[in-house]
């Protein structure tokens, strides 16, 4: 896992037992993190980026990574900004201060979702048990970020390494998502 993007930001929760540990795929709960939802217009992106510390990506489904910061493209006027849990107030205040005079919406959504780290050579296989997306590296290169549907739950999928994905779901859906993934992974053991 040392080769993944944002590995100073997305870290396994040291207090949580692994959700899955098989030789070819594992699932770890990620530690809490600051998540900010930003809706803003094109003219304010530069200011928002400089206040946050990382430029906001304008290319669909991409991310920009800095030291302990990540900006994720969610839509043409929507970004999710990630920072360490302790930096919530300082990050929020510095962006809010810079954008004060412009129409925008900055909302703390840190506790809305939980993340798991799915990694291993069978990670793609496992995700494809519930997601209809081509995860080949040509179609979905490292750094790609998208919202989609896992079975019946909305999720966010972020490829942080060739064989590593961060999967986020709303807190109340996470048992469903991780539970189904664990169940599907048993097929690998049986094979």
């Amino acid at each position: 896992m040392s080769e993944t993007l944002a590995n100073d930001l997305i870290t396994p929760d040291a207090d949580a037992a692994p959700l899955l540990s098989q030789p070819d795929v594992s699932m770890l709960k990620a530690a809490p993190i600051t998540r900010l939802s930003l809706r803003a217009r094109e003219t304010t992106l530069k200011d928002a980026g400089s206040a946050f510390g990382v430029e906001l990506p304008v290319q669909p489904m991409t991310c920009e990574i800095g030291e302990k910061r990540a900006a994720l493209w969610m839509g043409p006027d929507e970004w999710t900004l990630l920072a360490p849990a302790d930096d919530l107030k300082s990050t929020f205040d510095s962006i809010e201060g810079k954008l004060e005079a412009h129409p925008h919406a900055l909302v703390d959504i840190s506790e809305r979702s939980e993340a798991i780290i799915v990694s291993g050579e069978k990670a793609v296989w496992l995700l494809n048990t519930g997601i209809f997306i081509d995860f080949s590296l040509e179609a979905f290169p490292v750094g790609t970020i998208t919202r989609t549907i896992f079975h019946k739950s909305p999720v966010m999928v972020w490829r942080t390494g060739t064989d590593t994905f961060v999967v986020e779901a709303w807190v109340s859906f996470m048992d469903y998502v991780s539970g189904l993934l664990v169940q599907s992974a048993r097929e690998l053991e049986a094979a």
Binding site: G75, E78, F132, T146, R147, T148, I149, P154
Partner: protein
Amino acid sequence: MLLVYCPHCDVERAETEFSCRGQAHIARPSDPSQTSDEDWVNYLYVRANTKGVYAERWRHIHGCGRFFNAVRDTVSDKFLKFYKAGESMPDLEALAKEAGK
């Protein structure tokens, strides 16, 4: 399952990520309080429901969340064009001809 192209994400995804919101290019009356009941009913409920080539609003609800428009042949379910909301309606007859209808 239909494959739908989102012009905002620039990607083709399964229909389950989208929701279809009916006929496109229906303008909301600019002054609702001056609009007659009949006109308001037309705006709210009356749709062409074409059998054939039809321009619809779609939303990438489980992706970028944005609205866009698509031209679909309601008989074959084939999409003929996708374009962003705000762009003008393409020539449906020309698209139908191109598709051999």
